[in-house]
Symmetry: C2
């Protein structure tokens, strides 16, 4: 257990995040921008709407003309035509007059409010009976009420949702500046690893990690680029690393779990140009043998070979680095994407180590329960059964059944 | 308020979901399948792993040879070489013998467990001192322990996460059968609507809805296809509808909010081949004027023109139809994607109507608070400020400050 003294606590690992650069920005169509990270601040050039509009079907009026109107004592107004949609109305309202207007129609001059259709009856072609008074501004969206000219609306780092796409459309912005998706390379290593197309011979296993990690990269907002399986051979590895570093923003090494593969990984990482091993072991379970190096200004990861360990480390450790590189403003309300539940049984945990426990969520009459998924971290099936992870921090010895936990969705 | 009698309650609207067909399936590479919906059941053809493997670096032994070993009374075993990675080990273990093995190495014949590196010392080339006994099966994943041959693993309707992609890789499935993404057409109508590239004239507004709804379609797992802005003209509309219905699995009409546009929408929907208006008005706020029709076996929606109303109706009403068409097994734990909070102030709500209230989430010392975002449903800025929606059902008159609510993330 001596190497526990040289491991880097998770908190300290995260301090390296800011050392790596955010990727460049690009300009794309707003039609392609859902889920992308905004790389510019958005300010309005104009008022939205550009004119006062009715929010109801009814009659544009001068509000005071309706004051005191009731079912027993209606107001009678002179009805004078209708507002056309999409055209500047030439008619204008004076006290005692009403003009038909549709939802979204432009309020004519002199009108300050709209009487709802339901509260009026057209007695004849020229006479409107109004049963209910309307206040000035009633049933109207005024010019600039949604967005004011020069208003600061969105700031860089925001992930664009449908409503932000709609806002950009409202402002007439067909194009938007977003951060590129970082390209994340994956190199699989290990003499026991074979391509998934192969039927594994004795002692061989398929290259699961290249696929599960590629999928995690997509989910994290990156573009995966796989460099295939490289045998445990120094020359072959160093050549592939160099090529991969030229084509990617981050590199992930994964696959083999043998001592030989791990030692070779370290040797190769050390011999890259302008490289430094920053982290060699993290006190987390699963995932202790995780390596983080810097090659130039690019992060290079050595992930554990066990499939579940690699996935958990990606989710809890690598992903925040990718999010940073995508330009995401991490401070922004990410903490709320957790599911509160109660743990369904006692869980032991070693002090001095952060444990990530796979859990399955079970709905019951007394709320949501997080049930630990048991099984070794080499078993992918434990991840299939899991709905999420709970984190037991290094200063906690364990959890009693019924303790409130926050589940990180998987 | 007379049309309140003809509206269709939300629950009844959802009963139409099953009437519409799920889209066809297609076979794609697992590299492209993250987030897609599985269209086949997955069963294993083989055991994974295909052989018993070590989960630790250490020594393959016959467990009984270590029984009783302790720091004070170590066991001494004959050390005989190392297991190569990725090759069938020719050596075999007999009682009293140990062979070096790496994590992931194949357990040799005769061995039933692995002594961890930390609990043994190589005294000389041929002698291993063991300080701690290991149980049979200790530090080993046995053949088929992860996945057994013929085991049923995944079922159609599941959304593929990174772990399911990894599982498919483990089984050697490079291709997977998933449901196609339904193509959802959008037709914008209304004489007041102009393309977003234009500077709106007086009484005109930009076509926000085509963009915000396209983005919502992407989020829901569909492919948006925009048919542009059609003026309020029967012949032009019917022609566009017919073309659009041939190219899409679902059609959404949106944009204009005037009586004229709405009446024309109804007229056109009625005159389509084999069409029927199923729903004309839903007792929800915002979103009461929503229309659902069937044209052949395709759903056709008339959404309210107000941008926020259209987005809320899409999220709460249209989206479940799209999810169904994508083949998603809706019963599967979707209910847990809600954020629990307390409402920050009293909220009034009319009985007989389901209200969807936009809320902003605020973290404070005493937990998470949902703060209603005030503002008319024509204002897109209210959606920008919102983190989610809360639903107040038709039998509730309102909520008191401090009431527990479930926030649907936006």
């Amino acid at each position: 257990m001596k190497d526990f003294f040289t491991v880097t606590p998770l908190k300290q690992v995260f301090e390296y995040i800011a050392a790596f650069p955010v990727v460049a920005a690009e300009t794309i169509s707003i039609n392609q921008a859902t889920g992308r990270i905004l790389a510019q601040d958005i300010r309005s050039d104009e008022d939205v709407p550009g004119f006062s509009r009715s929010t109801m079907d009814g009659y544009a009026v001068y509000a005071a003309s309706t004051f005191g109107a009731s079912e027993g004592n209606p107001a009678y107004l002179t009805l004078d035509g209708a507002i056309p949609m999409g055209k500047n109305p030439s008619a204008c309202v004076v006290p005692g007059k009403a003009i038909r207007i549709s939802t979204g129609g432009m309020l004519p001059k002199g009108a300050d409010s709209v009487v709802m259709l339901e509260y009026a009856t057209e007695i004849d072609e020229n006479t409107l009976e109004v049963y209910k008074s309307v206040a000035p501004g009633g049933n109207v969206i005024t010019k600039g009420e949604d967005i004011q000219k020069d208003q600061s609306l969105l700031s860089a780092g925001l992930m664009l949702r449908p409503q932000e796409i709609g806002l950009l459309a409202a402002l007439g912005r067909e194009q938007v500046n977003v951060y590129k998706k970082p390209v994340v390379g994956i190199i699989s290593t290990g003499d026991e690893i074979v391509p998934i197309q192969n039927i594994p011979g004795p002692a061989q296993v398929r290259d699961i990690n290249s696929y599960s990690i590629s999928s995690q990269i997509v989910q994290a907002g990156g573009i995966p680029l796989s460099f295939g399986i490289i045998k445990d051979n120094y020359d072959a590895l160093i050549e592939t690393y160099k090529q991969a570093l030229q084509k990617t923003d981050m590199l992930i090494l994964s696959g083999g779990s043998s001592v030989g593969t791990r030692d070779l990984t370290i040797e190769v990482l050390k011999s890259l140009n302008d490289s430094k091993i920053l982290v060699h072991g993290i006190p987390i379970s699963p995932g202790k043998p995780t390596i983080l190096a810097r090659a130039g200004n690019k992060p290079v990861w050595g992930l554990p070979g066990h499939v579940t360990s690699a996935m958990v480390v990606f989710n809890r450790v690598v992903q925040p680095f990718i999010k940073h590189m995508t330009g995401t403003d991490i401070a922004r309300k990410n903490h709320i994407q957790r599911i509160p539940a109660k743990i369904s049984r006692n869980i032991a945990s070693a002090q001095g180590r952060t444990d990530f426990i796979r859990v399955r969520l079970q709905e019951s009459d007394d709320g949501l329960w997080a049930e630990p998924v048991l099984g070794k971290s080499g078993l992918i099936n434990t991840m299939i059964q899991a709905d999420g992870l709970i984190e037991i921090d290094m200063n906690t010895e364990g959890l009693d059944k019924g303790t409130d936990v926050s589940v990180i969705p998987l």
